[in-house]
Amino acid sequence: MSVVYPDNRGRYGDYGGQFVPETLMAPLKEIQDALDEAMKDESFQEEYRNELEHYSGRPTALTYADQLTKTLGGAQIYLKREDLNHTGAHKLNNAIGQALLAKRMGKKKIIAETGAGQHGVASATVAAKLGLECKVFMGEKDIERQQLNVFRMQLLGAEVISVSSGDKTLKDATNEAIRYWVAHCDDHYYLIGSVVGPHPYPKMVRDFQRVIGDETKRQFKEKEGGLPDRIYACVGGGSNAIGMFYPFLEDDVELVGVEAAGKGIDTPDHAATLLNGTQGIIHGSMTYLIQDDHGQIVEPYSISAGLDYPGIGPEHAYLHSSGRVRYESITDAEALEAVKTLSQAEGIIPAIESAHAIAQAVKEAKQMDPSETIVINVSGRGDKDMNTIMEQFQEG
């Protein structure tokens, strides 16, 4: 792979970097050094692959969506089944990688932030598996909304710390996790859940998620020969999308990232960071974010808790500015419709996050020729969303 960013300052063009207090420079350097060394070590790579295969259940399937393809009458549709991972989403790929790194660094305690609880559950899971102590920071509002996941984390032995600062959601949980980490970095490892944060996190999370794209490439070649014409993935922080896109960046494949338009991109209630945000800094990284005229960060909105983040990974900001990836947006209503469509056509209930990618793909597949092929990344399964979906369909 000759895509050689980030540079040594952690920059992807104008984006990325390390916009953090001086106190974090040393722990970030410690992680950077440990990561560089681990990635060169075949035994670490072997350990990581081994856990992915025998613990998470990889490779995940690439499923041909027979009924959906027929119904739409356009492009041939394949689904990359990240929903089949242990704990039900792509999040575990990264949690395994980083927890192994933490252990290698001699850190026995990990910290994680979580919004909906998916990354918190993945972190708690891998902490249990590797015998690490785990603290998960979660906004007070999210704790109320996601009680089942709070209980899952506690059952797995993690401590869930309620965050009541700021807007009491994911961005504040992330702030609080970072604040805690600053004071406890000597024996704690901060396991960040997406391709966000200061360098080297965006790169590290990408490298632990690229298995999605690497597998897809291989599987697609086996089934169809060659490469798909288009690939779709949803984007919040953007880890499933980067994981899927990265191995295809230099190929002749159209890549489509789908943001959450919430109640509509022309309303204040959206989470479409690239399409509707502006350049700035969030959680240590220069990227795009949703902010007001004075540079205060504004709470985003999406029905999908996993896309409800005011920033986006710096690499996405770069891929947006370079035009290599096309970014689109899907509303709550369109995503819910896509949940129903995929459930009934293929017997797969996707997470509402993933349904954003599905909705965009469904729109476009119809216009494509049956000789063309697309892959949709189904980043997670919908079990966690049953309450939300039930309420919406009852209201509708």
């Binding site: 970097g17 916009f19 953090v20 001086e22 702030n175 970072i178 800094i281 969030i282 205060q296 960060i297």
Partner: protein
Amino acid sequence: MTQMVEQTRFQKRLKREKDLFIPFIMGGDPTPEATVEIAYTMQQSGADVLELGVPYSDPLADGPTIQEAAGRALAQGMNLTEAMKLVPKMRERGVTIPVVLFTYYNPVLRYGLEAFAKAMEENDVDGLLIPDIPLEESEDIRGFTEQYGVELISLVAPNSEERIKRIAEQAKGFLYCVSSLGVTGERKDMNPDIASFLEKVKQYSQVPVAVGFGISSYEQVKLVQGHSDGVIIGSKIIKLIDAHREALSNEGTRAGALQELQSEVEQLVKGNE
């Protein structure tokens, strides 16, 4: 003829280089009008430099006390533009010490780097402290602060190690030493290794070395003064101010509250002498 290096506004206004007392106040907390009076009171209490905080929605380096103060100030409509406008009012009131603006980087980027540096000059701001840019990311803003005569204050931490030399050698105004790892806010005990850390910093610094984070009692002030050139007190000052919130907010009761605040601050930095 010998060419003299022209002194910056900060240098002209700084009256001494030892035993500095640098209080932090949050612009707009409890009200913008009160902030101007509080600034003057701090000077009367012996402040040598004033740190004026600009509230931010996501203050990553701050503990609960300053987070809450920022929340109150934002609710008062305070922002970067308005905070700078407080400084000429402070000058009018009689504040002659250097004023350092404390702001996170995102509002600065939003304002525009050069426009912001220019506005600082126009509003008679002497220094700038941005807690979320380390040396490596400070080049862009540094060019403009130098152009407009504003001292960009650097921070150094106990875990900066081999970075200490690089940071200290280019420090301007004063060098902000973070007493111990963590966010701003009171700490019961001072970092026991602080003396050796400060020795190392002083070895490289051309400007006064001041210590902040967690200083909240006269004993701590004395301890830290013994190893450095000054103390920065934030959360404790915010708490003292907040205890008079009601009285400071109303013009009728403000003067009395300011008087009490002055004696409390004097007690904190000078003890019972």
